[in-house]
Symmetry: C2
Subunit: 361 residues, 2 copies
């Protein structure tokens, strides 16, 4: 994790993941979410915290979700229904349901379809934020499938040469199982950094490195800068500027908009009438293509080869996608999830307000 995102030691409170999950679930239930759905949602959020994806865990996201349940932006009891369906595909209407809860159901359907047809691909229209995209992609691995998840969001990212944000951070997640190695888990925004990273840098009072954000006129800021207000921050697409191929990050963001928002019929990042998020999940059954054991053995070899790469000066080792998150998950399962004292305070106050037993500390 870049130092910009580390909580200073004196502000850290370690919380047991089971307690955090129970409390989060209770808060969902307290906002009208059925118990089984609340359990799914809490697991997605806490898994993000366990894996060190703090931007998508309870600290950054839960208070937004709860406030959106309250103000009617998120429907706690959506009637999810199928708009179109084929042997390998479906398009679901999310009925304003929270993606954190709906996307796992979409992936269940994709897995079922892949079991029959080799591949399953499910789009979800008219949803809300789905949290850590790799959670949903990782679900496929339990079934010896490769998982994929993309989702679009409101405009935060400037196109290459553009002065105004037009795309969401539109993340892409891909998860593939290995044998003895931890699985390959790729989960990235198509901007240089996810929007929530600006919030965290602001909270911690750290500067942003060059290449992350644009001036108000769209010009890439290539030197260190103070974090802008998160409401006005225009993020740069992966690649930062044209000379280093920001058109590739921009194009990837468009691909996500097309495969989630436009293919589902919901709408692209700039589509009038947001705050929707539209999703796409897919599952590829490994044994539709190859022998599962052979695949996993080759994945092990691939990941080991990458890890064994001689490092460049100033670095200890090459890190493969999903490796730091896997290591963090082992450590946090054992020692608890480090939350900022301010987040703990929010939990205490919110639980008290809602007559929910507060048991984090």
């Amino acid at each position: 994790m870049l130092k910009q995102f580390q909580i200073p030691q004196e502000n850290v409170v370690r919380v047991d993941h089971n307690r955090l999950r129970e409390t989060t679930k209770a808060l969902f239930v307290g906002h009208g979410v059925p118990e089984a759905d609340a359990e799914i949602g809490a697991d997605v959020l806490v898994r993000a915290d366990l894996r060190g994806v703090d931007t998508h865990g309870v600290s950054n996201m839960l208070r937004h979700y709860l406030s959106d349940f309250k103000n009617g932006v998120i429907n706690p009891t959506p009637e999810i229904h199928i708009l179109r369906e084929t042997a390998a595909t479906a398009n679901l209407h999310s009925d304003d349901g929270l993606g954190v809860i709906v996307a796992p159901k979409a992936m269940d359907l994709a897995v079922e379809k892949a079991r029959n047809a080799g591949v399953g691909m499910v789009t979800v229209a008219f949803g809300r934020h789905l949290g850590m995209a790799s959670y949903h992609a990782m679900m496929a691995m339990e079934h010896d499938m490769i998982g994929l998840c993309v989702t679009n969001a409101g405009p935060r990212v400037v196109p290459t040469f553009g002065a105004v944000p037009r795309l969401g951070t539109n993340p892409i997640a891909v998860a593939a199982p290995a044998g003895t190695e931890p699985p390959f888990v790729f989960d990235v925004a198509t901007s240089v950094v996810a929007g929530n990273k600006i919030v965290i840098a602001q909270r911690l009072g750290n500067k942003l490195p060059g290449g992350w954000v644009a001036e108000a006129d769209g010009s890439p800021i290539m030197g260190d800068s103070d974090p802008p207000s998160v409401d006005v921050a225009a993020l740069l697409p992966l690649g930062s500027k044209r000379e280093t191929s920001s058109h590739k990050g921009f194009g990837l963001g468009c691909v996500v908009d097309i495969l989630s928002g436009i293919l589902s019929g919901g709408g692209y990042s700039m589509f009038p009438g947001r705050p929707f998020n539209h999703h796409m999940v897919a599952a590829y059954r490994i044994d539709a293509f190859s022998d599962v054991d052979d695949f996993k053995a080759m994945m092990d070899e691939f990941l080991q080869t990458l890890k064994a790469t001689p490092p460049a000066p100033g670095h200890d080792r090459v890190i493969v996608p999903g490796e730091p998150e896997w290591e963090t998950e082992q450590e946090r399962l054992a020692n608890g999830i480090p939350l900022h004292r301010e987040v703990i305070d929010w939990f205490r106050v919110t639980c008290n307000e809602m007559d929910i037993l507060y048991g984090l500390e």
Copy 2:
């Protein structure tokens, strides 16, 4: 196109695309490729030239293909066969066939499967270079489908923090039809630039911008530099360095290795026993998810919204993926394809050597 890749005017010879296609086809046939296959291969190469993707057109690629036919690395008459198959998927053995010819056949199969199952996904093991990946992705659009194509290649790209190339430039192409707008066509290497761009910069005697290549010890070169010899050039993953998220480009390159090389059973970029390229093509039937006319209308709106973005200082307009290639194609269809005099000379000599009628000029 960046100025680094433009041929100086005094060395340009304009060639009619039909003549170039016929000559290329004749050269394929002269190397033992059956006529129908030669026609496919020539069309893929010349389409790259028409679209301004000169790195993957006749000038950079044809001589390598012909020399590999001669030395037995590419099989001119492969027995392509199905290794595994389900309703929506297949894994093909390419029998050392040239990807430029085999990938269109794989996409035909993906389209057929998508027609029945909603999605078709076909991996190809033990192939060779497939040229401009977007050619194959674009094939799906004629059937009102979204097309996707990825392929892996031998190691040219250093992992983030790594000193030795471990991944190919492993491109990703996605094509989606619009209504009145030119289609969305995304086609990029997962490195900052494709390897062939170094060759072209060398030929034209231009400097490389910072953020493209690494020092011999793996350190990213962030200032302008002379192009290294193409044999030793270590390319940087999209993102250039860790602070600007090169781990995302690195991870995308891994995703391509997994979906093409490992899923097909052929092998990843570093797999011993190359020079294979392994591919994956997919077709998503739009009406499996949404109404086709609605999709195209929303694509038009999406692309128009992006193009109408106010430009950042120093730029005229925002350019959407596929737009410059589409404009170049219209211009080159009318005025001919600009080839470097050196390439024309090669054609003349090669045709003469093989007793093929030379008719480019």
